[in-house]
């Protein structure tokens, strides 16, 4: 059984249907990427998994238990944590306070400093800037902070929404390096990306989303070699 399974997921915004029965699964210790064009439904899928959107139909199962009817905070405490798109950090709080906030669901006082230490090991840059206001960090640092904050909750599955969005190429590399390192430490990740080339380089498997449906899936290598993918998303003719 997969760690996270999405079955026949339908989501609509009012009258407009956005997802028409998305199916995907993420196994333990895997990076799975969801690629597709603008408006294909990538972020909608993530928001429906994390409970920020309520699906019309379908199941989101973590370890065989359906989460689709739970409110977002309960989904977080069960171990599905989303790092929102566009680096939503608490701009007026310091780096350290942001991380503490990420551990809101963590019970036990000793656990939080321990996890902060882990995040600092993963992102030494954040340790240097821990007393600084998050809003004054650079774009790349804010993305690191958003990811670190997500890790504070101790996720079983980390949902990353467009981590490379709006970053300079050098920083994109850094962010994907971090994703690789998280993977090597055993974190399970569902990664949504427009940058399909980079996403497929770090991922084990991938799904291609088109107008609210999964049109293609396979291992990252298969997708990279697939003609339609190469043409539509990797810019190779």
């Amino acid at each position: 059984m997969a760690l996270l399974e999405v079955r026949n997921l339908h989501v609509s915004y009012g009258q407009i249907a956005a997802l028409h029965g998305v199916e995907l699964e993420v196994n333990e210790r895997e990076i799975v990427t969801l690629i597709g064009a603008n408006g294909a439904g990538k972020t909608t899928t993530l928001n429906a998994i994390s409970g920020l959107l309520r699906p019309d139909r379908g199941l989101v199962m973590l370890e065989g238990i359906d989460l689709s009817t739970l409110p977002p905070h309960q989904i977080v405490s069960r171990g599905v944590v989303q790092v929102p798109e566009g680096r939503h950090v608490f701009a007026r709080l310091t780096v350290l306070e942001n991380l503490e906030m990420g551990g809101f669901t963590v019970r036990g006082k000793a656990e939080i400093p321990r996890r902060i230490e882990q995040v600092f090991e993963l992102f030494p840059r954040l340790r240097e800037r821990r007393g600084q206001l998050a809003g004054t960090l650079s774009g790349g640092e804010q993305q690191m902070l958003a990811m670190g904050r997500g890790l504070m909750a101790g996720p079983k599955v980390l949902l990353l929404d467009e981590p490379s969005m709006g970053l300079a190429p050098v920083l994109v590399d850094t962010i994907f390096d971090t994703v690789r390192r998280l993977h090597s430490q055993g974190t399970t990740i569902l990664l949504v990306e427009q940058n399909a080339r980079m996403a497929l380089q770090v991922a084990d498997r991938g799904y291609v989303l088109q107008t609210g449906r999964v049109v293609l899936s396979g291992t990252a290598a298969e997708l990279q070699a697939h003609d339609a993918v190469r043409e539509a998303y990797l810019g190779v003719g």
């Binding site: 920020l52 905070h73 790092v83 503490e100 800037r129 821990r130 004054t136």
Partner: protein, 581 residues
């Protein structure tokens, strides 16, 4: 355009002429603003009304202080803008601003001499011209006026050029003298009613204002104290840190001293000021509640008066002998009034959970009006009294002691405020406070972080409503009678203003805000409607000069002083885990 101006200004400074290339505009602008303001306060009758009051007997009247403050501010600002260019140029700048301001007043005098302005401007009376010209007629009088104003501007300019410590001492001394002079009646009364202090009254004050010796003594004592503290203060603070006993004892001792002082206040201050304190306390109690909703959780509530009304009406219905429904006493009704607040707080919270910002504000606004109209309605008259309200609400009592006068009710209000401040302070540092902070900063991310928005928002509404209901319940039993008209939208707005002016989210800031917005207008009551003019101007000025409030929360303050991206704060590695609150 602006860079050209600054370049020219710099160039002008380098070549020795401070007024070449546009820099002269600064003092002219300050002078013009001061001149227009001075003419304005003259034409609305403030100068004439104030001329009958003396700050220092026979020497300085209050209208002179008013004009000096207006034009002096211009001179002070002009000189401090030119401070880097040397004393000579700064003095010229201050003089220039004074001259410009004078021109406006002279124009008024000349115009008033030629045309009868009184047909349009009611206050342009002969006595105004007499007052402005020191009763000497247009020729000599205008000269004296010009001399006084220019001297005031230059003097203020010189103050601006002093080093910080003596400058602060001088300003504090002058402010204390002016303040004590303006509040003469109130101070005299207060000193007289408290035995040992009545000596002070006769020493400081004559029947019209401060005596010269009183003014000089106040100036020397407060100015000197400020100067002394500036020189010795850091040393004393340093030394007290090295004493382990002082360090550990300082907080409890200070807290105890504050409590003793608070308990003794009504006896020291007398009836009128105790009344003011009760009003401030009731407002502070409401503001502490609204501070939870707006300041901590970031939910803009414009119908907050509803909970004040619900607390008051619950108290009235349960205790009033006029209605004779239940006949509870105050202490039995108080918890029920608070409970009623909590329940309605949650009831209001449920429908507005999904709303944010302006939408939330409008819906809560509607809620406040609904409550007011319900208690006003004829249909509910048998239960809620309709437009006549509910009377014969018994006073609170403990045993045979009854809280009747303001000096007694004060303790009840003080108890409420201390309770509310303590609860707020404990909540803020708790998990609950952090959840509210997260919701205020970014609601979506808060949800992504595992924070139950529904639960914590409802708790914020409930906690805020509880304090407002408590305030309402005390207010009802203090007055003995309540009317629907006492619960208008204006109260919601005033309380919101207290929270914003005081410093959103910060508990002592909110209390200071209550003093500033409720206490000051009461104390300045003798100045009639002019106080509202000053009040309005002060609010606008406050928001421009201190946008985060009088005593802002650390988080808001640092936002306004935040550095641009990539520039680390010094030192960037400093551990600052707990510096939020």
């Amino acid at each position: 355009m602006t860079t050209v101006t600054t370049l020219r200004a710099r160039f002008g400074a380098a070549t020795g002429n401070p007024f070449s290339g546009g820099a002269w505009r600064i003092p002219v602008r300050y002078g013009a603003v001061a001149g227009v303001t001075a003419v304005f306060v003259s034409l609305i009758g403030m100068v004439e009304a104030f001329s009958r009051r003396e700050v220092i007997e026979t020497a300085v009247s209050m209208d002179q202080v008013l004009l000096l403050v207006i034009t002096g501010t211009a001179g002070y600002l002009a000189a401090s803008r030119f401070a880097a260019r040397g004393i000579g140029k700064s003095v010229i700048a201050a003089t220039l601003s004074g001259v410009i301001a004078t021109l406006f007043l002279l124009a008024l005098l000349v115009l008033g001499d030629r045309i009868n302005l009184r047909q349009v401007l009611l206050n342009a009376s002969p006595s105004l011209y007499l007052e402005l010209t020191f009763g000497k007629g247009l020729g000599t009088g205008a000269g004296l006026l010009a001399l006084q104003i220019i001297a005031g501007a230059v003097g203020s300019g010189l103050i601006a050029l002093l080093p910080p410590a003596p400058r602060r001492a001088l300003l504090i001394g002058l402010t204390v003298v002016a303040g004590m002079g303006i509040l003469h009646d109130l101070m005299s009364l207060t000193f007289q009613n408290w035995g040992p202090l009545s000596v002070l009254d006769t020493w400081l004050y004559s029947s019209t204002g401060l005596k010269v010796r009183g003014a000089s003594a106040l100036f020397l004592i407060f100015g000197g104290w400020s100067l002394l503290w500036a020189m010795k203060g850091p040393q004393i603070r340093e030394r007290s840190k090295t004493l382990p006993l002082a360090r550990s004892a300082a907080r409890p001792v200070a807290l105890l001293a504050a409590l003793v002082l608070l308990a003794a206040l009504p006896q020291i201050l007398g009836l009128f000021l105790s009344e003011v304190l009760v009003l401030v306390g009731l407002a502070a109690l409401m503001a502490l509640g609204l501070n939870i909703v707006v300041g901590m959780a970031g939910l803009l509530d414009l119908g907050y008066v509803a909970f004040f009304a619900i607390g008051a009406y619950t108290m009235a219905i349960l205790t009033s002998s006029e209605l004779a429904f239940f006949g509870f006493n105050f202490w039995a009704a108080l918890p029920l009034a608070i409970l009623a607040g909590v329940v309605t707080g949650v009831l209001l919270g449920v429908p507005v959970l999904r709303m944010r910002g302006d939408y939330l504000a409008i819906v809560t606004l509607g809620f406040g009006e609904i409550v007011r109209l319900l208690v006003l309605s004829d249909a509910l008259r048998p239960w809620l009294g309709g437009a006549q309200g509910i009377g014969r609400i018994p006073r609170p009592e403990i045993g045979s002691f009854e809280f009747v006068s303001s000096q007694q009710v004060y303790y009840l209000v003080l108890g409420g405020c201390v309770f509310a401040a303590f609860i707020s302070w404990r909540l803020k540092g708790s998990r609950l406070g952090r959840a509210w902070l997260a919701i205020r900063e970014d609601e979506d991310v808060a949800a992504a972080m595992g924070i139950n928005r529904v639960y914590f928002k409802l708790l914020a509404f409930a906690a805020g409503a509880a304090f407002a209901a408590m305030s309402g319940a005390i207010a009802a039993s203090r007055l003995g009678i309540i009317y629907p008209h006492s619960f208008s939208l204006l109260i919601s707005i005033n309380v919101l203003a207290i929270v914003i002016i005081g410093g959103m989210g910060n508990i002592p800031g909110v209390v200071i805000g209550a003093f500033a917005l409720v206490g000051l207008p009461e104390i300045l009551r003798e100045f009639g409607d002019f106080r509202w003019l000053v009040y309005g101007a002060a609010l606008v000025g406050m928001m421009l000069l201190r946008p985060a409030g009088l005593w802002p929360e650390a988080i808001r303050k640092r936002e306004l002083t935040a550095r641009p991206a990539g520039v680390p704060e010094t030192p960037s590695t400093s551990p600052s885990a707990g510096d939020t609150s």
